[in-house]
């Protein structure tokens, strides 16, 4: 494939942006319609009055767990590391996520329904009879969610910015005609804020259902169009780089304008094995906890548990294949013909944005601006379906675990509580917007995702202990949280915030074991919870 023949036309079409505008308009209309179903109570705002049925629960849980990484990261990682990407991140998630939904989600839902909990911290405060544990967990959970939020917002800058390059050369001369990030941020954060403000959890569930359907459909559409352009499925894979079709680590030579570089493709066994700890993060995501509580009944979880691995396959298999095909598409020799971004990604630079591969491949092979707009809408859908839940969750945590816990729930009417929550959601959105603009140029923000996931995964031993071991004590819980925090911080500082392994072992595996052992050992020698607490938490 001669890429020089596939350059973008001189006059850049604004049609992709029109498609995005239509998508955002539809999303807003649907979410605002769902806001009309809002019952005006705090319970409805926080957990949709436990009214979400099986299909919407599946879509909202799946949409929330699959960030933008599902579409663009999977393609980029396969382009960078090869076929093992699916086993590394997707099939393990199918098994482990479903385990978390079945073993943690349903039980947490039942307890929270009986006790009226709407946040994770309320649950842990109750189970371990400790206000202090809540104050310890609060900053940890918030600090782990913030990078996750930033990834979404900055991700939208990196998707829409290059997409709009050259569209408005006079209006935005400083950015080569691209829409500046501050405008993209206002639009994306503004749309999400509007529907979260209006309808809380219920609006998030409706919006997530729409967004999930959009990004699943757009992934399949991109797959179909690209395979067609490459001459069919067999021809597409035949031109891929053979080193990317196996998982055996091997050295790949990249010849670029800046000289030759060599890097490793594939995955060591031990990294592949210990990566299985990463999907445990869903057991401790506070925003997912809140989604679980929206379920109408325990039965609502059935579809989520069974269909989640299948939904993962529907999204990830096509995207990983596109990433493999792209290794052939961008395999022109000399590689000066490659787009600079593709060279950076193939070199495996830590600051490369692997998320660009899907868009790059589409723009080179499918020149139809409507299609490019549709697939970009799919990527935005994946980003926004996680953002809304995270914004709402942080607003809920600040309202319930700080204000209401400190001042007392009885001091406020239900309407005032909703107002406080909305105020916090606005504050969180503004803070995220400001931080995203400040950190936009910090390339390693995306590397923080794996650290955010690792922190949540390591803390999952706490929720498993809380739910399944009557002997788990308050002191054990403190020990677990502190041990995870210290071990996580140690590895994080050592890594400089980038991806890091200890002799091939993912740090998350070590942090998880350290946390679990601390919980068990300290609990064995400290005061057991009261009988009343045991009755409340163990049916």
């Amino acid at each position: 494939m001669n890429l020089l023949l596939a350059q973008a036309p001189a006059e850049v079409s604004t049609k992709p942006l029109l498609v995005l505008a239509i998508y955002l308009g539809l999303l807003l209309a649907l979410a605002l319609f769902s806001g009309r179903l809002f019952r005006g109570t705090s319970k409805d705002y926080f957990v949709a009055s436990h009214s979400i049925g099986p299909f919407m629960l599946l879509m909202s849980v799946f949409g929330t767990t699959m960030t933008a990484f599902a579409l663009v990261g999977s393609t980029g990682k396969a382009f960078q590391q090869g076929v093992g990407t699916y086993g590394l991140m997707a099939s393990s998630s199918g098994l482990v996520h479903a385990a978390c939904f079945f073993l943690i989600g349903i039980r947490v839902w039942a307890i929270a329904k009986r006790e009226g909990y709407v946040t994770q911290i309320q649950f842990f405060r109750g189970r371990f009879e400790s206000n202090g544990l809540g104050y310890l967990l609060f900053p940890i959970l918030v600090l782990l969610v913030i990078p996750y939020l930033l990834i979404g917002v900055i991700g939208s800058y990196r998707v829409i910015g290059p997409l709009s390059k050259g569209m408005y050369p006079e209006l935005f001369a400083a950015t080569d005609g691209s829409i500046p990030s501050w405008i993209i941020g206002i639009v994306i954060c503004g749309v999400v804020l509007t529907y979260i403000f209006a309808g809380g959890s219920r609006a998030a569930a409706w919006a997530n259902t729409f967004q999930t359907l959009v990004f699943m459909a757009m992934g399949v559409l991109a797959f179909y169009l690209l395979s067609d352009k490459l001459g069919g499925l067999g021809a597409a894979i035949a031109q891929a780089n053979p080193q990317h079709l196996v998982r055996t680590p091997s050295e790949l030579e990249i010849v670029g304008q800046a000289g030759t570089s060599i890097r490793e493709v594939g995955f060591p066994y031990i990294t592949f094995f210990t990566y299985m700890f990463i999907p445990l993060s869903v057991g401790m995501f506070p925003h997912l906890f809140q989604h679980w509580l929206t379920a109408k009944s325990a039965k609502s979880f059935k579809l989520t548990v069974i269909a989640h691995p299948i939904c993962i396959a529907i999204v990830w298999v096509p995207c990983v294949l596109i990433g493999l095909w792209a290794t052939g598409v961008f395999n022109a020799t000399p590689s000066e013909a490659w787009p600079a971004a593709a060279v950076g990604i193939m070199k495996g630079l830590p600051d490369s944005s692997v998320g660009a591969v899907l868009s790059l491949t589409l723009r080179f092979l499918v020149e139809n601006p409507i299609i490019v707009g549709l697939v970009t809408a799919g990527i935005l859908a994946a980003i926004m379906s996680s953002l809304d839940s995270q914004f709402l969750c942080l607003g809920t945590i600040f309202t319930n675990d700080v204000v209401l816990h400190k001042v007392g729930r009885d001091r406020f009417t239900d309407k005032q509580i909703v107002l406080i929550a909305r105020g916090f959601v606005v504050a969180v959105v503004l803070l995220t917007y400001g931080l995203s603009l400040y950190l936009e140029k910090q390339q390693n923000v995306f590397d923080l995702a794996i650290w955010s996931f690792s922190g949540f995964s390591a803390l999952t031993s706490l929720v498993i202990g809380a739910l399944y071991w009557k002997g788990a004590t308050k002191a054990g819980a403190y020990a677990c949280v502190l041990a995870v925090a210290v071990s996580w911080l140690y590895f994080f500082l050592k890594s400089g915030g980038h991806e890091y392994t200890v002799a091939g072992v993912m740090p998350v595996a070590i942090c998880f074991v350290v946390g679990a052992v601390s919980l068990i050992v300290v609990s064995l020698f400290t005061k057991k919870p009261s009988d009343e607490t045991i009755r409340k938490f163990f049916p």
Binding site: V83, G87, A110, V246, S297
Partner: protein, 75 residues
Amino acid sequence: MKRSTIIIALFVILAVLHQDCWNWANSNLVFGFMPVGLAYHAAYSLVAATFWALVIKFAWPANLEAWADEIPDSD
């Protein structure tokens, strides 16, 4: 043997099967377009879904559901 023991054993077997070290260097294509390393794990996703369907059928926590429903929902 208790159901929970069987489920835990099956889960461990699935976790072991996830490692598929025998496929690591296999570059053959399944159906002429899917590398073995991907086809195996795509099939694994379906097996995982089937496993959880069986767990729900044979080990659904009905007591937990009844316990949660003892307290009526209210706004």
